[in-house]
Structures are given as C-alpha cells and as structure tokens.
C-alpha cells in the first residue's frame, strides 16, 4: 500500500471510532487499530493521525459497551514506541490525567492496561514529567502519589485488575527527585509499605518495579542510615529474595537479620536474573558511605551473598555479586573516599572507565528492556 492510501485507509477508520457510534462498528475499528499498532510502520502511520489518536483515548476511558480494552491495548503498543510519545501527547495532552483516573478507580476493569500505558509513557522524561504534574494536580487531601502507592500496596484494591504495572510506573516516577522525597519522607510511612512487595510471588513486573523504585531511592545517600535503621529496615527485604534454603550453623544464623533466619528448605531465590542484579546494585548503593557499609556488614549480608555467588547461574549477575562481596570484605578506603557517590573522578579516568563499561556491555550483549507490550489482536 502506498503511503497516501494507507493514510486514507486510516482516516476512514476515524468515524467508526467516535463515541456514540454503533458498538459493533467501534469494536471492529478498534481491533483494526490494535492490529496496526503491532508494527513499526503501523504505529508511525497512526502517529500522524491526531484526530484518530484523540478518539482512541476517548474510547480507552469510555464505559461499556465501548471497546475500551482494545483501545487501551492499542495505546499500550503506541506508548511502547518512544517516537510516538510526542504526537500522542500533542494530540491528547490530557492523556496522563485521564488514564491516571482509570488506574486509580477501584471499579475500572481495564486499569491494568491503563497502568501499562502509563508505564510505557513514563520511561521518557517528558511524559514522565507530565504524569508527575497530573499526580500533583489531583484533588486536595490525599496526594496523587499517595493514592498510587496505596493502589500498589493494597491487595484487592481493584477486584478486576491486579495493577502489577503500577510497579514500573512508580519505578519510572522515582527517577524524579520529588517522587523520591515523597517516598523517603520520614514523617510518613511510604517506603516501608513497598518493602514486602520484593517477595510478591505472582508478578515479576510488580517485583521488578518495586525493586527498581528502591534502587532509585538508594541514590539518596543522606537517607541511608535511616533506610538501614529500625524505622525502615530495608536490608532484610533486599537480601530475602537473594537467599536460598541454606543451612547455616547456629552461630551464623544468629548473625543474620530475623527475616533471614531458619528459612524453610523449599525457599526459592528470585527467579528473574535482572531483578537479582537490581537487588545487588541496590545493596551496593547502600555501601557507598562508611556507616552504611558497616551496617550492611553487621547485618550479615556477606553470608547471604557468599551463598548466592556459588549458586548464581548468570555470569553478569555473578560479577555484580563479586563486586559487592569485595566491598564488604575489603579494607576501608582512604580518607576522601568515604562516600563513593561523591568522589570526584578525574576526567581522563572517567573516560577510560566509560570505555571499559561500554566494552563490557558489548561483550555481554545486553538487550534494552523492551517494556510492556500488549498482545496483538489478529486483524479481521
């Protein structure tokens, strides 16, 4: 099909997507759009159709019999493509706000799809900022972020949608300092509610999102002592997914945090290698300061990491584990290097390190995280 005729075809769909149209025609049109979003050229085509995008958003938030689910899934695929973000937000600037409303509505059946769209969108800085603005502008009383955290942490918040994708949404949002400030507010109980989710069995998407959030939070080294202290006690929750059914001696067992003692023989480690790596990176961040290192050592992290290292099947995770073990058993650094996050790295050294990093990555052929994608509906 030539470009102009494709555009014309797409434009023909528009009337059928309008609200108020016959439900069966809407449904068919939505399915067709969904099929288009499955391919790069299809997405580019749709990106040029502002009116169509607007109608799609309308449908995605419309009550039944509108084909809200397919419209939402189409948006998920569109949002997965960073090239479409700008046209999408230009066509419908209210997109983050409207989807947020759906996500936080305990009755909305397609809240998971709406969350997936937001997860995809928020990976890029501009839509992420738009979402943060939307959250801040929510009604007074309870902040939008608080509602989001509550929706994530309350089991059964939405009886029809598990809302696992709120994990990655929060993780993306936590790239922004204001979000981290809210999560790490000592006068509230926010980050503490996220901690048990590192063990959430039914969804690696949720677990990954929560661990990513915690990792981003741990860049705030001013908060390390509080995070590692009794009011939050973050370390056991980071170590537990990395711990296996190890039979430690009585003396070793007593050195571990309470949550890691006497684990049953059927204890499984975190199955997703990327999440294991993120957990180790998070603990690594907590060892940036001298007091932090001491706390991590004292709480018996070495024992868990030692066992993990001998079990770990993935080479790059094993390397990361090794690096952390080195920090834990190594000597204390010289003066001026106590906070590794604040060390001034000379430019030349920085360049060399970056080059080395780049080479390492090429060798390991890391793939970019493709982000959540909806399944494609077969075109009729």
């Amino acid at each position: 099909m030539s470009e102009t005729s494709s555009k014309a075809e797409a434009a023909k769909l528009l009337p059928f997507l309008m609200l108020g149209e016959r439900a069966d025609l809407q449904a068919a049109a939505a399915q067709h759009v969904l099929a288009l979003t499955g391919s790069g050229p299809g997405r580019t085509l749709l990106a040029g159709q502002a009116a169509l995008l607007r109608s799609l958003v309308e449908l995605a938030v419309a009550p039944p019999p509108a084909p809200a689910r397919d419209a939402a899934r189409a948006l998920v695929n569109l949002a997965a493509d960073p090239g479409v973000h700008k046209p999408l937000l230009e066509a419908e600037p209210g997109l983050p706000v409207r989807l947020l409303g759906c996500v936080l509505d305990p009755q909305w059946p397609w809240a998971e799809e709406a969350a997936a769209v937001l997860a995809n969108l928020s990976r890029e800085p501009v839509p992420c900022a738009a979402l943060i603005e939307a959250l801040a502008a929510a009604e007074p009383g309870e902040s939008g972020l608080e509602r989001l955290v509550r929706a994530l942490c309350t089991p059964g918040y939405n009886a029809r949608a598990p809302l696992h994708y709120l994990g990655p949404v929060l993780s993306n949002l936590s790239q922004c300092p204001a979000t981290r400030a809210f999560l790490l507010d000592r006068n509230r109980c926010v980050v503490q509610r996220l901690l048990p989710l590192t063990q959430y069995p039914d969804s690696s998407v949720r677990r990954g999102g929560v661990v990513g959030t915690l990792r981003n939070c741990c860049f705030e080294h001013r908060h390390h002592e509080w995070l590692l202290g009794p009011e939050v006690d973050i370390l056991p929750f980071l170590l537990l997914p990395l711990a296996g059914p190890e039979d430690f001696s009585e003396e070793e067992m007593e050195r571990l945090p309470v949550d890691l003692q006497y684990l049953p023989p059927d204890k499984q480690r975190e199955p997703d290698a990327d999440i294991r790596k993120m957990l180790i990176e998070t603990i690594m961040l907590l060892t940036a300061t001298a007091p932090g290192r001491k706390q991590v050592r004292d709480q018996g992290a070495y024992l868990i990491l030692r066992e993990l290292h001998s079990w770990e099947p993935e080479p790059d995770v094993q390397v990361t584990c090794e690096k952390l073990i080195q920090v834990l058993i190594g000597d204390e650094p010289e003066r001026g290097l106590e906070n590794l996050l604040e060390v001034q790295v000379p430019e030349e050294v920085e360049r060399q390190l970056q080059q080395q990093d780049h080479q390492e990555r090429e060798q390991q052929e890391l793939e970019l995280d493709p982000g959540p994608q909806a399944e494609e509906a077969a075109p009729t």
Binding site: R150, N187, C189
Partner: protein, 388 residues
C-alpha cells in the same frame, strides 16, 4: 416594674436569730479536737472525694450528687457529666471507677454520636490500662462505628492488637489510621513495632518447625537403626501389642524416643552410627537396681560389671557380689523363661536374641550371684536357657 419592698419580717427574723447567741452557745461550730476531720467533710473544702457517698454520713455531698445526676436533665447533659466523672477517675488512675462512669454515660443512650464515640474510646482506654484488651478492642470498634475517623480509637485499637499479639491486625489498623493522618507519630511507631514483632514471631515459628523436623529425623534414624539390627521392641503392655500392626509399635517407640525415662537417659547414636542404650540392672535378692545411662552396644557386660562392682555395694550384706561371681539373666516374660547371658557378650549380641524384647526402650537384666542359695531358689521351677 415595681420596686419590691424589703421584707420587714425577714430582717426581724435575722436580728432575733443573732440575738439568740447572746445567751445560748453556738452549737454548729467545729469541735476543737477534730476540726480538721469535720473540715474535710464540707464539700467545698474537700481535698479528696470519698469513694462512696453515704447520704447519712455526708448529706451535703449526697445532695450535690443528686443535683448533678438529676434524672430530669437531658440525656446528653447526663452523659456528659458521666464522661467528666469518668475522666476525673481516669486522671486519678482509678480505672475501674472510670469504666463504671463511662458505662453509665453510655447507658443514657443520648443522641450525640460524637459524645458516645468519646465515651466508648475513653472506656476503651481505661480497659486498656486494666489489661482488658479484648474489652478495650470491642469498645473502640463500637466507637469507630459511630465515628469512622476517630483517630484516638484507631490508635487504641492498634495498641490492643499489639498487646494481644495480633500483629497483622495491628499493622492494618495503623495503615487505616495513617490514611486519615499520614504523619501521626504514634501510629508510625506502633506500625514499626508491630511489623518487627510480626517478623520475629514468624522467625520463631520457622525455628520451632525446623527443630521439630530435626528431632523427628533423629528419631526416625534411631528407629531405623533398631530395625536394621533386628531388635524387637515391645510396649509397656506386651499382651495388647501382639495383635496390633508393627506401626503402632514404632509409633510408641517414637514416643518413647521423644520422652526421656525418669532418670533422663535416652537411646542415642554416636558419630560412627553405634547405639548406646540406657540399661537397667535388677538385683532381685536385695530389691536393688542400677541404671547404666549409656551402655554402648559393642561393650561387654563384664566391662560394666567390673566398674559397677569394683567395690561391693552397700546393700551387698554378704559381700558376695563380685564381678566374677555374677550371673546375668534376661526374662522372656511371655513364656516366663530365663536366659543366662555370658558376661563376655556385648549388649548388641543379647539384644539381637530372638527371645529378647526391649521394653520401653530400656533393656533390663537380672543379676545375682550364681552360687548363692538365693539364686538357686530363684531359678527353682523356672526353665533356664544358656545364651551362646
């Protein structure tokens, strides 16, 4: 309005009243010796209120009380008065009285839900300090029904759950309270405390489970060792056991393994997999006994007898119980027959004898001096076999 004329008779009455005291002494004054006690009885000057108000003893106070608690006032007023009374008792730490006052206030069933919520919450607090955590919990639940956002009730409820060790509920209540006031310090502290206690409790459960499993595994191993050696076990009442399946014997044996016998001795296994048994030696001649707490199965009877009878025991009146003189027997209770055990045998050899049944996991043997008259008498009429 007309100005009222002063009552002329009133003035007269006062004058004549006062004039009376020219001639008669005033009788209403305090007694010199007990003026302080009497002072205390005047309601206005009381330092402490009496716990019970006896109208005969203290008519003034009883009067005041009936004014305050006048049935003709509105239920709300009465309830409020009871609430204040309860609060006063509470401040004095008289929690039992406080509960009674609050209860009276609630009985008025006044129409003010806020007041009733406060009465319930305050009563819950008093119950809490009395240690009646369940009653306290019931009261705050009632308070929350009337006023779902009553933070004090939620804090009290969370504290009760904490005391009752319902850590999950305590955390839930704290979370509900934090939705109302996200920065309430008491709730933040309670939540952290309850969460930590919950995790510690979970650890304790895991620890106990693991310990239990280890013990079971050990017992299984011991039973297996006994089985492998073909040693026959028997329960306390061998007659009953003959018919039951072998499983019940092992169950009983497991039970026996878990409990120690009265002297604290138990069957054990060493690192080489060899068993050591608690063994009872009976001396029927003098009705005495000895318990060897750990008789290694590969050690010989004579080795132990040498130690036990290195010196003749105090009950050995004829001083004849020397290791060389002793004969060891075991009894086959079923057939009422005796078997003579060569002292050079090992314990294992004897235990494996087809007619040896270990009772209550404690092998028992009879010892007497072979050549003695007692022994001859004892063996009279009994069938005695020789063990090779």
């Amino acid at each position: 309005m007309e100005r009222q004329e002063p009552d002329a008779t009133f003035d007269d009455g006062m004058d004549s009243f006062l004039e009376k005291f020219q001639s008669q002494p005033y009788r209403g004054g305090f007694h010199e010796s007990q003026w302080e006690e009497e002072f205390e009885k005047i309601p206005l000057f009381m330092k402490n209120s009496p716990s019970e108000i006896d109208p005969l003893e203290n008519p003034d106070l009883a009067c005041l009380q009936s004014i305050i608690f006048d049935e003709e006032r509105s239920p709300e007023d009465q309830a409020r008065t009871y609430k204040d009374e309860g609060n006063d008792y509470f401040k004095e730490k008289d929690y039992k009285k406080a509960v009674i006052s609050y209860t009276e206030g609630l009985k008025k069933k006044c129409a003010d839900p806020d007041l009733n919520a406060v009465l319930y919450t305050n009563r819950a607090a008093a119950q809490y300090y009395l240690g009646n955590f369940r009653s306290s919990l019931n009261d705050v639940t009632a308070a929350r029904k009337l006023k779902p956002c009553h933070l004090k009730a939620i804090i009290r409820g969370a504290s009760c759950h904490l005391e009752l060790k319902n850590y999950v509920e305590a955390v839930n209540w704290c979370d509900e309270g934090l939705q109302i006031d996200a920065t309430e310090k008491k709730l933040l502290d309670l939540r952290a405390k309850a969460d930590k206690l919950k995790r510690t409790e979970q650890r304790d459960i895991r620890k106990a489970k693991l310990k239990e499993k280890k013990k079971q595994d050990q017992n299984e191993a011991l039973l297996q060792a006994i089985k492998v050696r073909n040693i026959r076990l028997v329960a306390e009442a061998p007659g009953e056991d003959e018919d039951s399946a072998s499983e019940s014997v092992s169950e009983l044996a497991l039970y026996g393994l878990s409990s120690e016998n009265p002297c604290g001795a138990r069957l054990s296994v060493d690192e080489q997999g060899r068993l050591s048994w608690p063994v009872l030696f009976l001396y029927p001649e003098y009705a005495q006994s000895d318990l060897v707490s750990a008789f290694h199965e590969d050690s010989r009877f004579i080795d132990h007898l040498m130690v036990m009878f290195g010196e003749t025991p105090s009950w050995d009146l004829e001083q004849k119980y020397c290791p060389d003189n002793l004969e060891v027997f075991f009894e086959d209770e079923d057939r009422a027959e005796l078997y003579c055990v060569p002292p050079s045998s090992t314990l294992l050899q004897v235990l494996q004898h087809p007619r040896y049944f270990v009772k209550a996991l404690t092998p028992t043997f009879l010892v007497c001096v072979g050549s003695s008259g007692f022994c001859r008498n004892y063996l009279q009429g009994k069938k005695v076999h020789q063990v090779k």
